[in-house]
Symmetry: D2
Subunit: 282 residues, 4 copies
């Protein structure tokens, strides 16, 4: 059963969900899943409706057109997408490959229904691992950062990147890129934010003597490690765990948190609102 | 802001949520929270709508009356309740008081908005702990089980018990009682069901050498430990944990799982369907 | 079986554990538990030996005297204690009673083998809850902080406080008190340190949109929330959890982390080393 | 720093640890790590000593010879191994490759210091994935089970298998193989044992409506799913998780629990005692 996904956020008002569900029902759509959240503090409304595509009387463009007047009146941010059309995801990696390897496995096994038109790295280490999957790998050195990011931007555009995943890519993307793909760049930070923003979080976690370490999957913005958080994962550590052990244990946190974050995003389960994200988990 | 809670389960059909939300909107109701689940395997629909009571044009009896024709047509199981009317909860306990103490604290501090018209035990141990809270305590010895349960049934009726909580009450309630309060008896079992159904679960967990132990909050039915599960909690254990340690660690699992289960129930967040439960967690 | 506890930390050297265990064996002691940790980075050695008291040829003062020459030579920090002698624990609380209630229950039920000679608060709210347990309650208002802390210091001394527990006591103890009871003041902070040091952590966690919140049990030092961490606890939260929900969920984290921290401390399972703590968990 | 590992279990007696540590000290060995556990219920003693190899006056064969008289007298089960000598691990897989892929990544990235002389499967699906890593793959069809297992036994022998890992190998090994590699066959079962022993655990977990699912890493014995448990992992599930979702979420539990179990084993951190295992985690 294939689904059409309607994602929407707007100021709350009485009867909103009734209007949305009536709209869907009017066009014959059978609802597979409905998630809704009304934030009592901000007065904002968020929803995700998964509609059985086969029951809809209209095709996607027509449905969008039919919905536009309502959406305009509601001053809504919204998308209507066909879940079966795979998102085009570009992955960036540096010298640590566990997140890349994990994403590639989930993609290859069908768990993660995405297209990966391109993997970019500032090192050559994972060219073979990428190319043996039949995927394109581009080496973009970052000695000259301005040139590197300009090159990258062109690459993103040339493959029509819909999502950019920083899979332990140890460079901060410039504001121009963050602005061109807002809410479409996902980063994995190797700490439980807001603890240990910035460099060397495992070393600092070790020095502080914390008893839990973690990883944070969040949208990248121009502010370092400040973007909306999608998911976090933690693992218990003890005094006998040296910095290398934290790296090892942290890797599994990173893989899990990143994979979940990407999954939620590509299924339109994340709605960004200011500095926070609403996540309708599955 | 006080809420009116509409809880409903029925066979799925197109436009169901539209009908429910339109019904609410028609009567002026502003939706505070909407949870919905359509089970694709059973074809069943479940929902919980929290409506801002102050915005409703009808009072509760009138709202129920207005909803009845729709509910009948949908062949629905449903309730409409005022969340501010506290449920009447009877607690049963034997010789282990941690769950009782935990519930009493949550009640006294206002975390658990319930009325406790009665605490029953087959031992006198917790009379003082109960009575000093200003609550009624009844000692019902279980030497003669038939008499004991007959006495208990009268007590439940006399206080209009809406929920019965077995807070480590080490007796199995007879079928008659389970049938008179279906879906309204909550038990805490001291294992991670279906592991270790029955007696001495911690000892058996120790003997088996499991690396995680747990507790299960579920509805009591006439079948031992087979009722719908509401929540479960686990904790990691190691080889150095002796049976007494498992008891100690398990107590915290039990307290948490039971408190959550009771909380979900009294806020109408649990819908029972056959042997399973749909839980709209908060 | 009652235990004598030898706790020691000193610079590492070859044969250290052999010397300790031989010392114990020489005096007839049967080892019940041995925990040892050699920190490869700091070159420091930590151990906790639990000895079956009944098998020891010497009484405690004689055992201490016999051990002193060795300890001096090793330049060790060490204690030898009888585990059956209950530690004298003073509890401080303000207006939130969940941690106090939790500790009282664990004490009353025998789970926490301590003496509680005194409960202090800057509010009268929990006098009744304390006194009905037969415990002494002192109200020490903090309008005049200098006078309050002077009064408190006298109280601590007068009851021979061995451990001071800040059970959501919302005042920072002055340096003089921290210095007089070093490594013997335990605080529960209502965030996952080092996230949200200082005031209003739940509100800030809400604003940041984290997906996990937590609590940290640590030794209080003169630096706010910087003392050695003993234990931490987290719970997953979602976008629909309002600040009040975080408070509610956090309370259970706080109770668990604090109870474990106190437990580890009174059983001599914690060794402090600089800003960190070695915890031999049970 | 390379380590020599002494692993030992024997009946407890006074002075045991003193004898072991003195033996090590006598031969110049500096202890890097010491784990010890005395089971008060069985009266059994277990220890693992990691000795800095460079400080030992004897080489491995000489050290073993020197230790033998002590071990004999103690009636001990024991091994002395060089941690830097990689264990030879054969992996078996059927049609689900997530555990194999995970182990291969951990091996290739150096996280798991093992040799993999052979991967065996009753299907051809993962030949390419294995061979592109430069590893040998053998297809052993199981239409004729007796022949298949005879073939497998020969293969195990021919590569001097020290550990056999059933990475979702959906066949039960016969008693002869279990007996020939006792305590050296590790299985991952896709449920939280002892829940759902046997086939289709996820489906049965779904039917029972549990709120947590998990995976169990254990030693395979001739009794199905009854061998000593090494590690377990769980994940929370909700009513909206269909059987396919449980499979997906369970895969991550399986990967983590299996990887940890293998890791503990190859570093001699697991001691088997009857139906249970002592695990000195890192």
């Amino acid at each position: 059963m294939s689904a059409t996904l309607l994602k929407i956020s707007c100021p709350d008002r009485v009867g909103l969900l009734a209007r949305l569900t009536s709209f869907v029902a009017y066009h014959g759509g059978n609802l597979l899943e409905v998630h809704q959240f009304t934030d009592p503090l901000s007065g904002w409304f968020f929803a995700r409706l998964a509609i059985d595509t086969g029951t809809l009387a209209l095709d996607l463009p027509a449905l969008r057109k039919a919905f536009k007047p309502t959406a305009d009146e509601l001053q809504a941010d919204w998308t209507i997408r066909d879940e079966t059309v795979k998102m085009r995801v570009v992955i960036l990696v540096s010298k640590l490959g566990h997140c890349l390897a994990d994403l590639l496995w989930r993609w290859r096994s069908g768990e993660l229904p995405i297209d990966i038109p391109l993997v970019i790295s500032n090192h050559e280490d994972f060219r073979e691992m990428t190319e043996r999957e039949g995927l394109r790998f581009e080496f973009v050195p970052t000695d000259d950062k301005a040139a590197a990011f300009e090159k990258m931007r062109e690459l993103f555009r040339s493959v029509n990147a819909e999502l950019i995943v920083l899979a332990r890519y140890m460079q901060i993307l410039p504001r121009e890129i963050c602005d061109e793909w807002p809410g479409r760049i996902i980063n994995i930070h190797h700490s439980f934010l807001p603890s240990f923003v910035g460099a060397n979080p495992y070393k600092r976690a070790y020095d502080r003597g914390v008893k839990l370490i973690g990883a944070t999957c969040h949208y990248a913005t121009a502010e370092l490690d400040e973007g909306p958080i999608i998911d976090q994962e933690v693992v218990r550590v003890e005094h006998f765990h040296m910095p290398d052990d934290l790296l090892r244990l942290g890797r599994d946190c990173e893989r899990l948190a990143l994979a979940r974050g990407v999954r939620y995003h590509i299924h339109d389960r994340v709605l960004i609102h200011g500095k926070k994200s609403i996540v309708f988990r599955d």
